[in-house]
Symmetry: C2
């Protein structure tokens, strides 16, 4: 290890590494504090050639590398293990926007570019990078792609995968694979970049990407509506998709209990209704040349008695206030105390059944559970979190947690869903992968891992 | 081989195979007649279990399999070689629509389902399957996915890849991998289906798929406009994308020479203009609730002098007449005689440069070449075909053809483009793959092929 560290320091130069455990704490600790690891060295390469040299040196020494972007993983995907023998490779110095090609509706960035900076570069060019998620001020494009990030507008624009036109990747032996093309159509052989999207740094290290841009969606209309149940949400979505020419930017479902937490814990956060409703939808659409479209569509849904009440933001300040309610959920949840997190998806047609059967299931498991459900229902994605009684011991928490999580994932699987919709697998869900994607799928995943990273040096212990 | 054939016949039953060379001609000959092969047996399995059993039997015997859908490949991708030792596996009996899940905006079909039948099933459910291409009346979904088909509306909806939510695939050892999920968000491990999309049956045999559906785009507006050059086309595209809220369904570029061929060879095909223009755009947009949007947007472009003249279809009959001009190009080309076909893509921002430098290049190569250029310019995809003098000998054709094609592909590569935009590689472009995607990319493709199909029995001699 001593020889390797010396080599790495030479490759990286004085600005390019850090070995101080104290200074490295933000890199060795998960942002929520759930995972903590150790590392002998944080590599901070400035160029793809340095990344390649670091990987080659580590491969020669048989030392593992944990690639790290903004360290905003929800599953411990970017944290080294406790051995203190895994190098962290941070992409954060490689944070440049390399090119905005407005005529091609594309942007090329280094992997360490913060998502918000890439969004801003697109905006400056009069265009729009749709990827949008809570962590956008600190997460990095490389991490977004490595985890196939979802977020708020997948229904219209797809996940990160749908935005990637090209990638530059460093393979496990230090080879640089430059597939940084910016083409919408390309059938010249296997589409290799797909391998690295969503593989959480276990098959290669993404160093740069070219992403699709879209025309600025222009005027947005934002509404908060109260509804009776989540099944209605799916019907409303189908109607609005047609009525609004498929230009629904966001379609978020939040339970009364969740907004109750927000009102309780977040200063000045108040729902704009006098009554309470069991569920709420936060809907945002691009209205383009026809600003009244959303209002008309909602009026129809009120006539049909699918919507109980609706508030449309009259200006961007009001829209921001509505979004603040949504964006405050994580913080309100955090203040409310520990909960079991489940980031699940089901087919939209199964959403209502999932929620109904989930209610029954939780009641059966324990009468004292608190369901904290919200999410991107437009994509079939729910954050289906469960609060346990606060007086449980740590041990009871672990046992009960495992039992409840398994029951929820079983239900999700039965309905054709996924136990990981947008947060990936990381460290925390590896066991579930074997359980719910076992057989031919898991075998092929293992085969790919073994083929692309035979010495298991790329983010070992993650995903697979 | 005799033993294998006996086994296959037992697996497939009397309806499931054919060994008559005469009856098999439509399966052993490419539709244009460019490729011809031989086979001892055409397997026509009716179920995925039969596909798996056939693959296992062939794997045991070390005999290769050529998967075949509608046999509409432009690159000989579905034709066996001349040895007469490759089994053809036709998916055409597996042609059922298994499920239309309207609430989930998805459809599940067997691989042999003809594209038009899947489109129709979506329409019946009041929804829309956007994949659309010339061969849609005979091509099959399995082939569309295996070649990552593009077509007419990639700009808005993406290629076949973007539509695939789930796949069922038979691997090279006969294992059935069921990933037939219908989720919009799923980060549970590697996204294995991506491997098989666009790999032309060389890594696995697709037996069923779940595809995204969209709301019916409703009222369409269709226009044909005359323009000065292709650079203007890209500017117009950018303007219209914004003006029309990104709802451009098709954006096709056709040169005067190409429409000249159509007017000459196709009965009753006449352009609706009194004057000739160097280039034409065929534009179709979903206008939803605002039918006048396209007219307004085109008027603006005429004021800006980027559009020289425009005709907007007043009804669906007029729209069909405009599309008939576009859809007659292949037939007009065929009647005009042999030409070098190039299915290339470049970044949109390089389109004008490509066409300008292409003109210069062709003039330099031979003054007597005829450029036949048209394509899906909204996706940067051009069919850049070149007619050679009709009096060349076959040998001169071959030599000159290779020289001209290489020069064009070199230019495409220099501009960051692809020598295969939407037609795949098949047999005809294998050598170019090695040339233009050599190095790390080709090596990784070869590694994948060797890993997933170590005995090289899946569509050998294709792609790689």
């Amino acid at each position: 290890m001593t020889t390797l560290l010396k080599t790495l320091k030479e490759i990286l130069g004085p600005q390019g590494w850090n070995c101080d455990p104290e200074e490295l704490r933000p890199h060795t600790t998960e942002w929520r504090g759930v995972y903590e690891g150790r590392t002998p060295l944080l590599a901070r390469p400035a160029t793809v050639d340095q990344v390649a040299a670091v990987v080659r040196a580590c491969a020669d020494a048989g030392v593992a590398i944990v690639p790290q972007g903004g360290n905003t993983s929800m599953c411990g995907g970017a944290i080294p293990d406790a051995t203190g023998e895994q190098i962290i490779l941070s992409l954060s110095r490689m944070n440049r926007v390399l090119d905005v090609d407005a005529a091609n509706f594309s942007i090329t960035v280094e992997a360490g570019c913060v998502l918000a900076d890439a969004q801003e570069a697109a905006t400056v060019a009069g265009q729009y990078l749709p990827l949008s998620l809570g962590a956008e001020g600190s997460c990095q494009i490389g991490g977004n792609i490595a985890t196939n990030a979802g977020g708020l507008n997948v229904g219209r624009y797809g996940t990160a995968r749908a935005l990637v036109l090209g990638l530059e990747v460093v393979l496990a032996d230090g080879t640089v694979m430059n597939s940084l093309r910016s083409l919408r159509k390309d059938t010249a052989g296997y589409d290799l970049k797909q391998l690295f999207i969503g593989s959480e740094g276990t098959l290669g290290i993404i160093t740069a990407a070219t992403l699709r841009l879209f025309p600025d969606p222009g005027q947005l209309a934002t509404a908060l509506v109260g509804i009776e149940n989540a099944g209605v949400a799916v019907d409303i979505l189908a109607s609005l998709k047609t009525a609004l020419d498929d230009r629904i930017e966001s379609f978020e479902l939040v339970s009364q209990r969740v907004f109750g937490l927000v009102e309780r814990h977040i200063p000045d956060a108040t729902l704009p209704f006098t009554e309470e409703y069991p569920w709420y939808l936060l809907i945002e659409t691009a209205t383009g040349s026809t600003p009244q479209l959303l209002e008309d569509a909602l009026a129809t849904e009120i006539e049909r008695e699918r919507i109980l009440d609706a508030v449309i933001a009259k200006n961007s300040k009001e829209a921001e206030a509505l979004w603040r309610l949504r964006h405050s959920i994580s913080e309100a949840e955090r203040q409310d105390g520990k909960a079991l997190k489940h980031d699940v998806s089901v087919p939209l047609s199964k959403m209502q059944q999932f929620l109904q059967r989930g209610d029954e299931l939780l009641a059966r498991l324990r009468p004292d559970l608190r369901l904290i459900a919200f999410g991107h229902v437009g994509d079939g994605n729910l954050h289906y979190n469960v609060g346990l009684p606060r007086d449980l011991t740590e041990e009871e928490w672990a046992t009960e947690g495992a039992r409840i999580t398994r029951a929820i994932y079983d239900l999700v699987a039965e309905l054709g869903g996924s136990f990981s919709a947008e947060h990936g697998v990381g460290q925390s869900k590896r066991a579930w992968l074997a359980e719910y994607r076992g057989g031919a799928e898991l075998e092929l995943m293992q085969l790919l891992k073994k083929t692309l990273d035979p010495a298991n040096i790329l983010n070992p212990g993650k995903v697979i």
